[in-house]
């Protein structure tokens, strides 16, 4: 993934709680075998409504999504992260997130900014009052800011996730440095092998 230091841009307020990954990217989009092109499917059911916030001219081109509690719950589909990023979002600010979604985001470089519910409300208020407001998410300093109003909130990321974002590190590459430890562990592992168990498998009857 690409390194992320600072995300700076306009923000969109999505004033809903429990925005699950089925809403972020509905299941008809999951048939694709590619990793790109999911932006068109982002919130596709809601986007049919002309009044939906992402359809409003003043929010087009925003790079930060601000949402209600429990954003990204439900299905493990990483397609939700791909869709948000493909659409142009680089950070999501909310009071809480679905575990798997937050994890998937960290692998792709989508910055997850968890701040208190009233801070999210304040931020939404600022953005609603003036959609051209610039918002800044700083991974280095671990804060979200609206410089124009001197509004500043800190957030936390586990140190490893922060390092990976800042350096654009590939998780698999990092783990592969531990090849020796994995091999040592495997030598004592009692987990069964499936080799030879289902010999007839591998093709349709």
């Amino acid at each position: 993934m690409k390194p992320v230091h600072v995300v700076e841009g306009r923000a969109v307020p999505l004033e809903r709680s429990d925005v699950d990954t089925d809403q972020i990217i509905p299941s008809d989009w999951l048939k694709r075998v590619e990793r790109t092109g999911f932006g068109r499917g982002l919130f596709s059911e809601w986007r049919d409504d002309p009044g939906f916030v992402l359809n409003q001219a003043q929010f087009v081109g925003a790079s930060i999504l601000v949402a209600g509690p429990r954003f990204g719950t439900g299905s493990s589909r990483e397609h939700a992260v791909w869709a948000l990023m493909d659409f142009g979002f680089a950070a999501v600010v909310a009071p809480s997130f679905g575990d798997i979604f937050a994890n998937n985001s960290s692998k792709q470089g989508l910055v997850i900014v968890q701040v208190a519910a009233n801070d999210v409300d304040e931020l939404m208020g600022l953005v609603n009052a003036d959609p051209t407001t610039l918002v800044l998410v700083d991974v280095e300093r671990l804060c979200v800011e609206v410089p124009q109003y001197g509004w500043h909130r800190d957030f936390t990321l586990d140190p490893m996730t922060r390092e990976r974002l800042l350096n654009g590190w590939d998780d698999i590459g990092l783990t592969m440095r531990r090849e020796g430890a994995i091999a040592t562990y495997e030598a004592t592992s009692v987990a069964p092998s499936l080799a030879g168990l289902f010999d007839d498998a591998g093709h349709a009857p």
Binding site: R16, S17, D18, D20, D22, Q23, P26, S27, D28, L30, K31, R32, V33, R35, E45, G68, P69, R70, T73, G74, S75, S76, R77, E78, H79, V81, S96, G98, D99, I100, N103, N104, K107, Q108, D158, P159, M160, D171, I172, L174, T175, M176, R178, A181, I182, Y185, E186, S189, V190, A191, P192, L194, A195, L197, F198, A201, G202, H203, A204, P205
Partner: protein
């Protein structure tokens, strides 16, 4: 030293490395793969010229996207067909066992793992699907992962993980007659809320959980994610061992006894301390349905649709009003008076043989209400074959149900089985999100018994109303 919880025992046994300041590297014993969350992971491997580290600890099946039409019918949607072919090609290229559409072992990934005996106590199990928690019924640490992590496990057979917090959910006393595992887990989710389990691994305990069959325990663990928890667990006991005996993936004879002895250690110690604990009284749990668009919005079958005014929190009031509008429901309406268009019996929550037996017993000798489309989608070919041996298919067909080929089907509406806009469905699946079963569709989560009775009555109903 205080004793350890079941979660801690499994965790400790799988630590590959715990470098200072970094997440623990955890070994994965079994990786289950399906067609939807894997193609991009295999592409990643190819891009970096990486092999699959342990094809012998990896097992794939087609489930999410398969049509449930007769196997002889080709997959008509070209994009779906491509995805199913990609799974077979990828597995062939990387040496992974795969059960494609129509194979005797094919089925929903969380149904086939246990039934083939490859899900075993004390294991770490992952799959690119959030309902991987199902396997926790066997005292295995099982959780859903995204596609990047699928690639990571394929390449390294490990995952960097932060240790979760532990939560004990004790369901004490016995559930009344007619209350199923589904009703128990809906009660738990209603109590915890959709985020109540976040950051935790739940261990389900207490008399009511002990009293469940393995299939019932799977139903409970399956829905852990709907309370925000990453995984659910049940301690190993005689039921666990009894279920596993004789299955394809477990050893025979003396070797089984040796394995069973080890498996029996996968229980929390008496003096283990959980980070949090809640207790429910099973004797107060009643048959229930969900009325809204998240799985914590639960109401008794004998109750009425709630009103936004019942909630003090303004956020919750708004969410309730929005759910009611989406679901097309008016506060105060009696649940039992709400008419249905579709009844779906299937999904990794409730599509196993016991679920089908319960449903068949309710519909035997009756007819599905004329305006209702009712379908049964067995969880796997093995479940389907067993049901057919017992004559359950005849019962369903005679009652006017469709009897379809196995897969995820209308649980997520990726294949041609989905709701039309505005259609109302009683579903034995696990998610009632907006549009989950088809754009504009309205999903109510129910137990197999309630689904069956509701199909007959054309509205929400309990089995004892049928044929009155």
């Amino acid at each position: 030293m205080a004793g350890r919880t079941l979660y801690e025992k499994i965790w400790d046994e799988h630590v590959v490395a715990s470098p200072e300041g970094e997440p623990t590297l955890l070994y994965i014993d079994l990786h289950l793969v399906h067609e939807v969350t894997s193609p991009q992971a295999f592409d990643g491997l190819r891009l970096h010229h990486r092999p699959v580290r342990r094809p012998d600890r990896t097992l794939a099946t087609a489930d999410h996207n398969v049509p449930t039409d007769p196997i002889s019918t080709p997959v008509s949607d070209p994009i779906s067909r491509r995805q199913l072919e990609a799974l077979e090609e990828n597995c062939a290229e990387f040496g992974i066992t795969v059960f494609p559409r129509g194979h005797e072992n094919q089925g929903i990934v969380h149904v086939i793992g246990p039934e083939l005996g490859v899900t075993q106590p004390g294991m770490t199990i992952v799959c690119g699907d959030s309902h991987t928690s199902t396997h926790g019924a066997f005292g295995a640490l099982a959780f859903g992962i995204g596609t990047s992590e699928v690639e990571h496990v394929l390449a390294t057979q490990t995952l960097p993980q932060q240790r979760a917090k532990t939560m004990s959910v004790a369901v004490e006393n016995h559930a009344p007659q007619g209350v199923s595992a589904k009703d128990i887990v809906l009660a738990i989710i209603a109590r915890l809320g959709t985020g109540g389990g976040a950051g935790h691994v739940i261990e389900y305990r207490g008399e009511a959980i002990k009293g469940l069959t393995m299939e019932g325990r799977m139903t409970v663990c399956n829905m852990s994610i709907e309370a925000g928890a990453r995984a659910g667990l049940v301690a190993v006991d005689d039921s666990t061992i009894g279920y596993l005996r004789g299955r394809a993936g477990v050893p025979d004879g003396d070797a089984f006894e040796v394995a069973a002895q080890r498996w029996r250690t996968f229980v929390s110690d008496d003096d283990a301390v959980f980070d949090s604990a809640i207790v429910l009284d099973a004797s107060t749990i009643v048959p229930s349905i969900t009325w809204g668009t998240n799985p914590a919005q639960v109401v008794a079958l004998s109750g009425v649709i709630p009103s936004p005014e019942q909630f003090d929190d303004p956020g919750e009031r708004d969410a309730t009003a929005r759910s009611l509008a989406y679901m097309g429901l008016t506060p105060g309406t009696e649940v039992r008076s709400i008419p249905l268009d579709v009844v779906f019996i299937g999904s990794c929550t409730n599509s196993r043989i016991e679920d089908l037996r319960v449903a068949a017993a309710v519909v035997e000798g009756r007819r599905v209400a004329s305006r209702v489309r009712a379908l049964v989608v067995p969880g796997s070919h093995r479940v389907k074959a067993q049901a057919e041996m017992e004559g359950l298919d005849e019962i369903f067909l005679a009652a006017g149900f469709e009897w379809r080929e196995p897969g995820c089907s209308m649980c997520l509406g990726m294949n041609p089985d989905h709701l039309a806009p505005g259609q109302r469905c009683a579903s034995t699946s696990n998610r009632n999100f907006e549009g989950r079963q088809g754009r504009g569709g309205r999903t109510h989560l129910v137990s197999p018994a309630v689904a069956a009775a509701s199909a007959i009555m054309g509205r929400f109903a309990s089995p004892d109303e049928v044929g009155r």
